[in-house]
């Protein structure tokens, strides 16, 4: 006897029964019922793929300013580039190519202002993989009706350090704050969340994946890596989306299921868990947001 003998049913046996075949009545009815549902794709993070409409690439050596589409009476231009960054403004979006992530923040500010935004650019502490990327925007003021902010970035056809597109109401009159990622100091809270890519289990792991594991297992992995843990509890909706907030460790049960883990500093990780089955939505006490998220404030 071996473990295979403990299986309630084997695939070969099932294949010999009508119920085990995709063409069987039950299977067909299920498939048709699923396909009758309108496909509402689950919203994912901003895609890495996308088409970047290449701006004129400005080399670091050519520290000249390129302004295109200058209106006759001295208003904002539609394209602007200096040694640090190229910015192109469309009707409701900005295309941004960061050429020199280490340039002074003022150089970035100059470019965003040139295309008409009341913008400030600040350096923000981030994980190594996010250095040189654009953060934000943080916007302070009233949004025009029906507008919002959405960002995406691409590595395709990107001759610069970072290329991306920010959907933004260009004629927004309030203050806009962008960040450029700089390497965080050891222990300094990240302005964004980094990936956890540890060596654990005695061997190399290419990208730690926590999804579906129990809290106890992930906690042990994080402790082995020397990472301090904070928790976010989320409640999932049937459509795959979810909402949640930060909760004290004491409320987290070992057998809850982990959704994902992100590093929040070189020595800290934030573990997002699914609330246990008997925990009503928003019933746990909230704790304040973690440090590091206020990089944009003065």
């Amino acid at each position: 006897m071996n473990i295979a003998d403990l299986a309630r049913v084997r695939d070969e046996q099932l294949a010999g029964e009508p119920v085990g075949q995709a063409s069987g009545a039950g299977a067909r009815a299920l498939m048709e019922s699923i396909m009758a549902e309108e496909r509402v794709p689950v919203r994912r993070r901003a895609p890495r793929r996308g088409r970047w409409l290449a701006l004129g690439v400005v080399t670091a050596a050519a520290a000249t300013v390129l302004a295109v589409g200058v209106p006759p009476f001295g208003g904002p231009v539609t394209q602007y580039a200096n040694a640090a960054v190229s910015v192109k403004a469309g009707d409701d979006y900005l295309e941004v190519a960061i050429n020199d992530p280490e340039a002074e923040a003022e150089k970035f500010t100059e470019a965003f202002r040139a295309v008409g935004l009341d913008a400030v650019v600040k350096k923000a502490p981030v994980a190594p993989e996010d250095v040189g990327k654009l953060l934000g925007p943080i916007m302070d003021g009233e949004f025009p009706p029906g507008t919002g902010v959405k960002g995406s970035w691409t590595t395709e056809n990107c001759a610069s350090a970072w290329c991306g597109k920010v959907a933004i109401p260009i004629h927004f009159k309030g203050k806009v704050i962008f960040g450029i990622g700089r390497p965080a100091a050891p222990g300094e809270p990240y302005a964004t969340r980094g990936l956890v890519s540890p060596a654990a289990d005695g061997g190399p792991i290419d990208g730690y994946k926590a999804r579906g594991k129990q809290v106890s297992e992930v906690r042990a992995d994080m402790e082995r890596l020397g990472l301090k843990i904070t928790y976010v509890v989320m409640w999932s909706n049937p459509d795959g989306s979810g909402e949640g907030y930060r909760v004290e460790d004491a409320y987290i049960k070992d057998d809850w299921i982990v959704h994902h883990v992100r590093k929040t500093a070189s020595d800290a990780a934030e573990v997002t868990v699914e609330a246990g089955p008997d925990v009503p939505k928003d019933s746990l006490p909230k704790v304040p947001l973690r440090e590091g998220l206020d990089w944009w404030k003065d």
């Binding site: 295979a4 309630r8 029964e17 009508p18 119920v19 085990g20 995709a22 990208g207 297992e217 795959g240």
Partner: protein, 180 residues
């Protein structure tokens, strides 16, 4: 991709329905729960059809989704009662799965059931789904090296349990389709 979502889904459904039903039936004591897991898993695949990998990878992707569905399933909670009505009726009429599984009183069964859920699942993926460590890595979303380490440890714990129960380990831990 060049293939419309409907054709792609039908293709995935056709090739993976049987293995996925087997996967669910082997892990649910109630066939109705298994039908619900199959329905929810394919529902996720339908919504995320662009993310489902091609070829045999699709089956592994579905096992990974089913594992999460199982982890979140509450006993007796049926999210797809209507759409699985015909499938449940068919399952109920199939002698293979219609009767509740008798308690496996063998010592080997007891030792296996006493393992942690993670160890059981790893060994089951080898012995029941006949997956190799690379395939298991994709189901669990971990690296191949981590899978090998975890499998090694699970097998050691299983062998230790068998030894304590007085079972000849060398034969009992031989797993079909595996050289582990």
């Amino acid at each position: 991709m060049g293939v419309d979502p409907e054709s792609r889904f039908e293709e995935i459904y056709g090739s993976s329905y049987g293995p996925l039903l087997g996967y669910a039936l082997r892990r649910c004591s109630d066939p109705d729960d298994a039908a619900d897991v199959v329905a929810e898993t394919f529902m996720v695949a339908w919504r995320r059809i662009e993310e489902v990998p091609k070829g045999d990878e699709a089956r592994l992707w579905l096992f990974g989704v089913a594992r999460n569905v199982l982890a979140n399933q509450r006993r007796g909670e049926r999210r797809h009662e209507q759409r699985t009505a015909a499938l449940r009726a068919q399952l109920a009429a199939t002698p293979l799965v219609a009767e509740p599984p008798g308690e496996d009183l063998s010592q080997l069964g007891r030792v296996f059931r006493a393992l942690s859920e993670d160890d059981k699942e790893l060994l089951a993926l080898v012995a029941w789904e006949r997956l190799d460590p690379g395939q298991i890595a994709r189901v669990l979303g971990i690296s191949r090296n981590a899978t090998r380490v975890r499998l090694y440890r699970a097998r050691k714990r299983f062998a230790r349990g068998l030894a304590e129960a007085g079972i000849d380990c060398s034969r009992a831990v031989a797993m079909e389709g595996s050289n582990l």
